[in-house]
Amino acid sequence: MGPVSESQVQFWMAKAVDWGEATSPSVQQDTGRHLGELRGFLLQVLQSLQQASSTTEAIRTLPFVGQFLGRLCWNPYVTADEQSQTLLLQCLWCLYSVEPQSAVERRANEWIRTLLCQLASEEENTVQYALISCAGLRPREYTLRTLEKMVSVLTEEIRGGCVSLTNPSERCSCENVRHVSVASVPLVTCPQASPLIGGLLKRPVTCNRGALCEEFIEAVSIAWLEKKLVIEEPALIALWCHSLTSLEGAVMSLIESVLSGADSMPQNIEDKVTDSLLAKASALDCSIFLTVNEIFRAMLMELDGNLQLHALIHTFTRCFLHTLGAQRLQESPSLKAYFPLVPLNLLTPLLTSPSEVPKETWQDHVSWISALLQKITEKKEEEDKEESPRWCRDVFEAWFLLVQCGDWVDVATQLLVLPESEGCLSLLWLIHFYHHPTNRGHQSSQQMSLGREVCDHLRMLFLGSPLPCERVVAIRDLLSSTLSSNLVLHLLLNFAIFSQGSITTCKDIMSKVLIEQRVKHVAAWAFTTIRHRLNRDASKDARVQSRLRTIQEVLGSLP
């Protein structure tokens, strides 16, 4: 941050003078609009003051500073904002000299002491002064209670609806709601003001006078993203219904935290989804669910094949379905409303969790899903030869639903390992579709034969030693190609966990094929996801558990 410029000084001095003590709604709104920038400027001033060797020097470089800080200290709208107030006080203390060397420094000290005294004590001969003096409480406690009372009175007042609806001739008080929202901008993070903030958000907008001010919505959204907001869930949902920007911000913040976090392990993703409250809000409000998924779709297009994003979407949908299931007893819209773009016959098998289906029938269930999806992708042939937009949309939506319900892809991969696997082609097709929905210019049949080839290699490799060298090389090559890497890795890990091959063979194969750093990294991540899913299963297989531990060790010990 650079030194303070002349134009900045002029701008902010003029603002400080204009704002005065910020008593009118229009001045408050202007202050609210500039609060973020003001904090930035105060920080800049603070840094300049900290660089000065003495108060005399500080005043010489920033001659406006005394008047500027003094004015802001008298603006309760600024001092109610925690960050601004902290910066203001720090600036003042930079100007205080423990050993004043000149008359200027002595005067500055005196001024700061007086200012702080005035800030800390109540103006005499006012009702507040009289009440606080005989309250038998510490001033902070008394003021806190007063604030709580004010908040409760205002919260009660704004609860009433618009009178002009029932009586058009009467002037409604909705404008006051707007004023309260303007006044509440610096208080959004104040825990005592929380009922009022919530009340404002939850108030139905019945008349155009009663719209909450933009600065308020923005302040609440930012505070939520910075985890500084104390607010109840219905109020947060109301915020997201009020403001699309705020909802987008919340979704993007969740996506960013998952994609950027080195700690984005499955359990962490679940925690992040839960903390974001987005899944819960989605279950309560269908439009929120639709918006969140719209953003997910856009992100999937942008970040093709990103496993973390897939995991996030999958986890989000699982949490959403869980909440929805818990509140099913109450009245809520049908599932079709949440997934309007996919056929109902596909929705039912995919939204059923594997835990709800007996293990013996998993194979049939997956084949059923696979057949339904194949039917959708093949429709093209019946229609126009060129890819119709409608067909593209149908295929994309079907694939998106598969990503949302990724459990069945995992089940398919797991089933493929079993030697007695029937309908292997159908399983392979599903896995292939999941990893390569667009074919990326390859012929589907070519990819399918690749899948079969991978399975053959792995099956032979896991039969036991000595390892056929050419197959090891083949798998290693396939892993290094970004086109097939994810698919091959998932198959490899599932073979490692579920095949009958010995532990030694398993270790041997892993250390021979997992060479590249990138591949090793993705392998570790994919493994954790699989393990997390298996650990969710109540009936834990002892053999699988022991293999999971071994593979964990192998992956950890790879060079």
């Binding site: 006080l89 038998g136 007063t146 604030l147 006044a183 104040c190």
Partner: protein, 355 residues
């Protein structure tokens, strides 16, 4: 107990010294000790303020010590019992105000008490002034959010909140036995230090109208009205300056107030004189209220609840009968008030009576 008196006495001495030039010899350690003693006093207050026996003894101890210190230190400011609840804050302000306080001490005070610690801690171990300033600013900002219920003459937001706070304090005092005197002292203090009768009028109205959360009964309201009767200038000011609708609301809430209010209205009416030439009832030069104001106030009462309406009507009829029961205008003020007040009652029910 002896020890407690001694300690409180020493703390008062310490606070007295903090107002003098001797404070220039204080350092970080002295300030810490002083703040600890101040906190001790706060603790004593919290522990014993509801125990009337110990409180009386403590008050006596404070009185004696204050007297002694007043003789010793020029310009000494007395420390009443309620102030011991905020000893640290008082010490802090005194040190900031005292030019003899060393700069190093001031810097220390800043570090401890002015640096933001967040609003989460209810404990307030450090007498967090930054947080106090912030919360007070929040109150000021919300106070500017003018939210009237669009009902003419309703209580203003600030007065409503102050009234609630005063009411809560009175309720809690009166929930212990033998505390009437304390409650009255409290009201006396508020009357003296609130900056004028008008301010107090609204706060008292707010206190009467504030919902009683703690206990049933009208103990607090009755005490307030009894106290008001002992402070006639304030009572008169209330009846004169508060809006008619608010006074009717007070009369509805509290029977004792209703009686006092009706008495004052009668008193004012009795002072009106009829000007035969202008054919008007004239307000005396030395106070009282106009005929029009009286009519408005009666109308408001008549538009109020059934019991208030019945009482007011009965009062008007009784006065009219006692005054001769005339039906002709201009002979008895009560005949005229009765007639005017009942006229257009429906209009006043809509809440048009503002004065």
């Amino acid at each position: 107990m002896e020890d407690i008196w001694k300690n409180v006495e020493s703390t008062l001495e310490l606070l007295a010294v903090s107002q003098t030039k001797f404070v220039s010899e204080w350092d970080a350690r002295t300030v810490d000790r002083a703040l600890q003693w101040a906190q001790y006093c706060e603790h004593i207050y919290t522990r014993f303020h509801t125990n009337s026996v110990i409180r009386k003894a403590l008050e006596k101890c404070l009185r004696d010590t204050n007297e002694r210190l007043r003789i010793t230190f020029e310009g000494y400011r007395d420390m009443p019992f309620s102030d011991t609840a905020q000893c640290r804050h008082i010490l802090l302000i005194t040190l900031l105000k005292n030019p003899a306080t060393p700069n190093s001490v001031i810097k220390l005070l800043f570090k401890r008490h002015f640096e933001a610690n967040g609003d989460t801690g209810q404990d307030d171990q450090n007498a967090d002034v930054a947080s106090l300033v912030r919360i007070r600013s929040a109150c000021q900002v919300l106070g500017t959010a003018k939210f009237s219920r669009n009902v003419p003459g309703s209580l203003e937001f600030g007065a409503q909140v102050h009234g609630k706070m005063l009411r809560q304090r009175l309720d809690s005092l009166l929930s212990y036995p033998d505390n009437d005197v304390l409650a009255r002292n409290l009201l006396d203090f508020v009357l003296q230090h609130s900056g004028g009768l008008d301010n107090v009028s609204y706060v008292i109205a707010g206190a009467v109208l504030s919902k009683n959360d703690i206990s049933g009964g009208n103990v607090t309201e009755d005490l307030i009205v009894d106290w008001l009767r002992d402070h006639n200038d304030l009572l008169l000011n209330m009846c004169q300056s508060l809006p008619a609708g608010l006074l009717a609301e007070l009369s509805e809430r509290c029977t004792k107030f209703r009686l006092a209010y009706l008495e004052i209205l009668k008193e004012w009416a009795s002072h009106l004189e009829y000007d035969i030439i202008k054919e008007l009832w004239q307000q005396p030069r030395d106070g009282g209220v106009s005929f029009k104001t009286l009519v408005n106030r009666f109308r408001s009462l008549l538009a109020s609840s059934a019991s208030v309406k019945a009482d007011t009507e009965k009062e008007l009829v009784d006065m009219k009968e006692a005054d001769g029961g005339f039906e002709v205008m201009g002979l008895s003020v009560w005949t005229d008030l009765h007639q005017h007040s009942l006229k257009d009652l429906t209009q006043s029910q809509k809440g048009t009576s503002l004065t």
